[in-house]
């Protein structure tokens, strides 16, 4: 900029230096995002109840008469499906939630309005990530409490399991969130957002071993699923919630933590790059 504000009017110069910090505005954005989120009652109920209801159905239907998964002594069905539900919950509250809600915000003119203010775009994105972190944590906490109290599923007791949980959860949420931001530009309108986003999430759930035991899927399907993050998130979560010997049921015969970290981090970077390069503050039809 060739014209600096201080050369033009001194009373304006004092305003320049005191523009609120990006960090303070990120927190303010997180707060207002959460407030908005919790007032959209339908979305709240869906995101919080979906994993719990799915777990209840799968544990009840497949777990009748004490059926188990895998060789003796076997894993109770409820316990086997819990990691998949944790992973799918993260995908819902990060990717699906943001891809749809940002598409709607764009359609309604909310993004355009924000772009016209001095709020830095970084604060908007960090606010989204912050609100997704809070809702995902709340969602997974509800799921684990229900799993443990109503379905008698044993939760891990060792610190290293919870460390694994923490990084898989954090990486999964972060990559899901940035991919959601990037994907929000794909639907042509707010109305079509759910029609575009939901099938993708649903297909991923089926092929990634959320609804079936992963080894029971056809090999080609397993290979397709391995290209997407949900399979790795579910596998990472299985390494948290299943006994050590269940490792042998994985396609590679191992939990593959480094690969899980690499795929999730890869999607994080991909989502960031695509999101930054393609993000639109205006509707497609808006000049």
């Amino acid at each position: 900029m060739t014209v600096t504000p201080s050369t033009r009017a001194t009373d304006r110069a004092s305003r320049t230096v005191t523009l609120p910090s990006t960090l303070a505005l990120s927190l303010a954005r997180t707060q207002i995002e959460l407030r908005q989120f919790f007032r959209e009652r339908d979305a709240v109920v869906f995101i919080f109840a979906y994993p719990v209801i799915m777990l209840a159905i799968f544990a009840s239907v497949f777990g009748q008469d004490g059926t188990t998964v895998g060789p003796e002594p076997g894993i109770p069905f409820g316990q086997y499906f819990l990691p998949g539900m944790v992973a799918t919950g993260v995908l819902l509250s990060s990717f699906q939630n943001l891809a749809m809600s940002i598409a709607v915000e764009r359609d309604e003119g909310g993004l355009k309005r924000l772009r016209g203010t001095p709020m830095p775009p970084t604060a908007y994105f960090l606010g989204k990530v912050g609100s997704v972190l809070v809702t995902s944590l709340a969602q997974v906490a509800i799921l684990l409490v229900v799993a443990s109290t109503l379905f008698g599923i044993d939760l891990p007791t060792t610190a290293d399991r919870w460390v694994t949980f923490a990084w898989v959860f954090a990486l999964g949420t972060a990559s899901g969130a940035v991919c959601g931001v990037a994907f929000s530009s794909v639907p042509r309108s707010g109305k079509s957002a759910s029609a575009v986003v939901t099938p993708i999430v649903l297909v991923l759930q089926f092929i990634s071993g959320v609804f079936f035991t992963f080894p029971s899927l056809p090999l080609w399907m397993q290979q397709v699923a391995a290209l997407f993050p949900l399979k790795w998130m579910a596998q990472g979560m299985r390494s948290v919630f299943l006994p050590e010997w269940a490792e042998q049921m994985e396609p590679a015969g191992a939990w593959e933590h480094p690969m899980t970290a690499a795929v999730l981090a890869g999607y994080l970077v991909l989502g960031l790059v695509l999101g930054i390069r393609t993000f639109r503050w205006k509707r497609r039809d808006d000049g």
């Binding site: 305003r15 407030r35 016209g116 001095p118 830095p120």
Partner: protein, 308 residues
């Protein structure tokens, strides 16, 4: 330094495919004035204002807003500009109070949120969620969010579309009040009376360029404000635009054996007529008037010839 114009536009061009939305537009808005951009839908008002706001990139031309090129302006510039876009229906679940308070956080010298809410007349609705506001209340909230940062320059894009007359009047008072506090205001409207009531100066835009620029009272050239004399001759309605209607009527009367001119009318064009003639719209109930107004700009006066 303070005499530098708030907005300076020279030879602005913006094309969408073959459509020339803005086609060589010039505009200067001085600091502290209310400047209205008038014109029909599709004249290029919104495209122009969105280029000034930094939302769209121009194809060609020179644009300076508060001393900077909006295309490359940063946070500091945005904190000095207030933007009220055309209709939006976002953030439906938040209350008026929450939104104004939140937006106040974006700026370093914000107005007091409560005072802003009071100024736009929404104190009673402060705790109401946006989705429950009426159209006019919603629009006033838009204005509240546009002015809470104490902007030096406020853009209003068709701010009162859909208002009832009373709401429009109180809105005008609000905008005049902002000008009195030193805010420069650039508004687009297709209501002539809005420009007449609010604006210090207004530009009429048509086909992407300014066709007239003046104070609302002086808008239109002298010819467009000439009186029109209309009478019936040989069973046909004749009319002529003139600066001297009395002389014309006297001349007509002298031609009539009875001294009475049949079907005599003398019409002064209203500001509305002037505006409509500028934007090239047919005057709906007076189709001949436009022809007459168009005719006076040439040297050829067919109706005057018919007289002689």
């Amino acid at each position: 330094m303070s005499t530098e114009p708030a907005v300076h536009v020279r030879d602005l061009h913006k094309h969408y495919g073959p459509k020339r939305a803005v086609d060589g537009l010039d505009l200067t808005v001085d600091q502290g004035e209310i400047f209205a951009v008038l014109g029909p839908n599709g004249a290029g008002k919104t495209t122009t204002i969105e280029i000034l706001e930094g939302y769209r990139h121009r194809d060609r031309g020179e644009v300076t807003v508060l001393g900077q090129d909006p295309q490359h302006a940063g946070r500091e510039w945005r904190s000095r500009v207030g933007i009220v876009l055309q209709s939006a229906n976002d953030q439906a679940e938040l209350t008026v109070d929450e939104l104004v308070r939140h937006f106040a956080l974006y700026y370093s010298a914000s107005r007091d949120p409560q005072e802003v809410i009071a100024a736009v007349g929404l104190t009673d609705k402060a705790r109401t969620r946006t989705r429950q506001l009426s159209g006019g209340q919603r629009r006033r909230l838009d204005v509240a969010l546009g002015i809470v940062g104490r902007p030096e320059l406020l853009f209003l894009d068709e701010p009162t579309t859909g208002f009832d007359p009373e709401a429009r009047r109180s809105f005008w008072d609000l905008i005049s009040g902002l000008r009195d506090e030193g805010t420069t205001i650039l508004l687009t409207t297709h209501y002539l009376e809005e420009a007449e009531h609010l604006a210090d100066r207004c530009a009429v835009v048509r086909d992407g360029r300014v066709v007239a620029l003046d104070s609302p009272a002086a808008l239109g050239d002298r010819a467009a404000r000439q009186a029109v004399v209309r009478w019936t001759q040989d069973g046909l309605v004749r009319q002529e635009a003139t600066d001297h209607p009395t002389a014309l009527v006297a001349a007509l009367a002298a031609q009539q054996p009875s001294g009475e001119v049949p079907g005599l009318e003398v019409v002064r064009p209203s500001l509305e007529d002037v505006y409509l003639s500028l934007i090239g719209e047919p005057v709906t109930n007076e189709p001949d008037l436009v022809l007459a107004l168009d005719g006076v700009s040439t040297d050829h006066h067919p109706s005057a010839e018919a007289l002689r």
